[in-house]
């Protein structure tokens, strides 16, 4: 799986493409009401085809987590539409959201591996929770959950442990496994590797690549272009609540069009390839500020 390059996979968006797993159209999210409110997202349009991995990159406050939360119904959209698995969910109330979520089409992996698992529940209990919510019998749920522990390269011995007894990397992998147990069509990952050290980061990234190969659609949110670059088919760049650039991963990295994207690529620390020098970055910053 390490050799497959992003381009080798069907982008899926062109001619005769199947219906997207996720289609966001003209999305706007506002926090606060009236004049004191501010919009966290403005006119964001993005779609994710079946099997596609879209990387969403943006810095703190760019609205990337808001995008994820809006797609999951955790925050309300002020305008625009969101379609999940072909279903228009924009106007959904709590009950219909719950019914939709219970089908397990979309799952979410949180940034903070320390707090994304209930400290009082064993790994097994956390892992099977989405299945129990669906109404699956406990014994069957446990059987099914074991298989997914395998997928994230964790041994079944961990099932009886509490999150406090696992390392950060192990916990994040459990969180990924929990997101997978309902066999979702789309997994949204919010900074899944940012809190991990490099060995664990590599491990989780490898798991994501395997998922992608298995045909699960992924939305990979991160502030780090490096970790997205090797995983995503397409990259979407969020800057101050707006989607400034969307394109094939290699294109965005090698030929960034927007000033911010150019600064982003030019700022990424690299070993050999000098992406930009200080004066170039200075000039880009000035253009962005002005």
């Amino acid at each position: 799986m390490t050799t497959a390059s992003p381009e080798a996979r069907p982008a899926g968006k062109e001619a005769g493409a199947p219906a997207p797993v996720l289609a966001v159209e003209g999305l706007e999210v506002r926090y606060g009401r009236g004049r004191r409110g501010r919009s966290a997202l403005r006119d964001v349009s993005l779609s994710v085809a079946p099997g596609e991995t879209v990387g969403v990159i943006g810095e703190t406050g760019s609205g990337k987590s808001t995008l994820a939360r809006a797609v999951l119904g955790l925050v309300r959209a002020s305008a625009g539409s969101i379609r999940v698995g072909g279903e228009e969910v924009t106007g959904y109330g709590n009950r219909r959201w719950r019914a939709l979520r219970r089908r397990g089409i979309v799952q979410y992996v949180f940034q903070d591996p320390l707090r994304s698992l209930d400290p009082d529940l064993t790994i097994e209990d956390s892992l099977i929770e989405p299945l129990l919510i669906q109404g699956v019998e406990r014994t069957e749920a446990v059987d099914r959950a074991r298989a997914f522990l395998d997928r994230v390269h964790l041994s079944a011995e961990l099932l009886g442990r509490l999150p406090g007894e696992l390392s950060g990397g192990q916990r994040q992998r459990v969180a990924v496994a929990r997101a997978l147990v309902t066999e979702p069509a789309l997994v949204i990952l919010d900074e899944p590797v940012s809190a991990l050290d490099s060995a664990n980061r590599v491990q989780v990234l490898e798991i994501l690549k395997e998922l992608r190969a298995a045909g699960t659609s992924l939305v990979f949110i991160s502030h780090d272009l490096g970790s997205i670059a090797g995983t995503a088919d397409r990259i979407a760049v969020l800057y101050r609540g707006e989607l400034v650039e969307v394109g094939a991963a290699r294109d965005v990295i090698n030929h960034p069009r927007h000033v911010y994207t150019r600064l982003l690529v030019g700022s990424a620390p690299t070993l050999h390839a000098r992406t930009a020098d200080r004066s170039e970055r200075e000039a880009l910053r000035a253009r962005l500020a002005g």
Binding site: E59, I253, L271, H272, R281
Partner: protein, 293 residues
């Protein structure tokens, strides 16, 4: 830039050449070993480097590799029950083991400054940030309030904060992580130290902000001859800024040498692993074809 002009002579030298080969080191670390007094275990097994004015040394390693302990040993702020059990650290030719607390206080800030990962926790949240820098200047330089304020503003300008007057009057919660780190750098260079230790100073920041801070450090180094110790878990960050690299793992320096030769001809398997991770999961893989020409 009056406050920062003391070493401008060094600033005119090209970036990757130290000011003068014969210049005595600001910081000399000689085979430093650090032990935990309680468990009686050696945590750091011998680190050594020399930092001459205008030079930049980078230390790379995972958390727990001993890089932060080494920094803290140099600054004389090892956590309780850790001690330097071997080797020596010299600052400006003086062995720090012989320093009294009073001499230490005089040395910190004036000769060596430091910035750490979490800028917010090094500033008082209930005092305006400008006043905190002015305080440092007033105490260390013994100047009047008004002059301290003027110099603090100049420093905020020197670390490229856009509106120094505004930032001067703000509190920590009003500033972003990148701005706070700049404020801390301003405070650290307030008394014109000759060396600055940056321990994971950019780790918690966004990539573009990290680049800004690294650019700022490079610029300060060029302009004022500030010597740098840059500590990071990211080999690329260190590579971007430093002349010499130390790769640490489990308290041991597994590789040490000029940045260029370490990157082009890594000797140790761990260094190669670090580089492979970057090449496989970083941007290098995508950019190399374009830059190869």
């Amino acid at each position: 830039m009056r406050t920062l002009s003391r070493n401008t002579a060094a600033g005119s030298a090209p970036q990757h050449a130290p000011a003068a080969p014969a210049a005595p080191p600001v910081i000399a670390v000689r085979d430093v070993r650090i032990s935990d007094r309680v468990t009686d275990r050696e945590i750091v097994h011998g680190v050594g480097f020399e930092l001459t004015p205008g030079k930049a040394v980078g230390i790379v390693g995972e958390s727990g590799s001993g890089k932060t302990l080494t920094c803290r040993a140099v600054l004389g702020i090892l956590p309780p029950h850790f001690e330097v059990s071997g080797g020596s650290v010299e600052i400006d030719g003086t062995d720090i083991a012989t320093l009294t607390p009073r001499q230490w206080t005089a040395l910190r800030g004036t000769t060596v400054g430091a910035v750490f990962q979490d800028p917010a926790s090094y500033l008082n949240p209930s005092i305006r940030v400008g006043a905190q820098i002015a305080e440092v200047i007033r105490v260390k330089k013994g100047v009047k309030r008004r002059e301290a304020r003027r110099q603090a503003l100049e420093l905020l300008r020197a670390v490229r904060l856009r509106d120094p007057e505004l930032v001067y009057g703000q509190y920590t919660y009003e500033l972003s992580g990148g701005m706070l780190q700049r404020v801390l750098i301003a405070a650290a260079i307030a008394v014109e130290p000759r060396a600055l230790i940056a321990d994971e100073a950019t780790t918690a920041l966004d990539v573009t902000v990290q680049a800004e801070i690294l650019d700022l450090l490079a610029e300060l180094r060029e302009r004022t001859g500030l010597a740098l110790v840059v500590v990071s878990h990211d080999l690329a960050v260190v590579a971007q800024l430093c002349d010499e690299v130390l790769v640490m793992r489990q308290g041991e320096v597994v590789e040490q040498g000029p940045t260029h030769s370490v990157l082009h001809d890594p000797q140790h398997a761990y260094t190669r692993l670090l580089m492979a991770e970057h090449e496989q999961y970083g941007l290098d893989k995508f950019l190399t074809p374009k830059e190869a020409s």
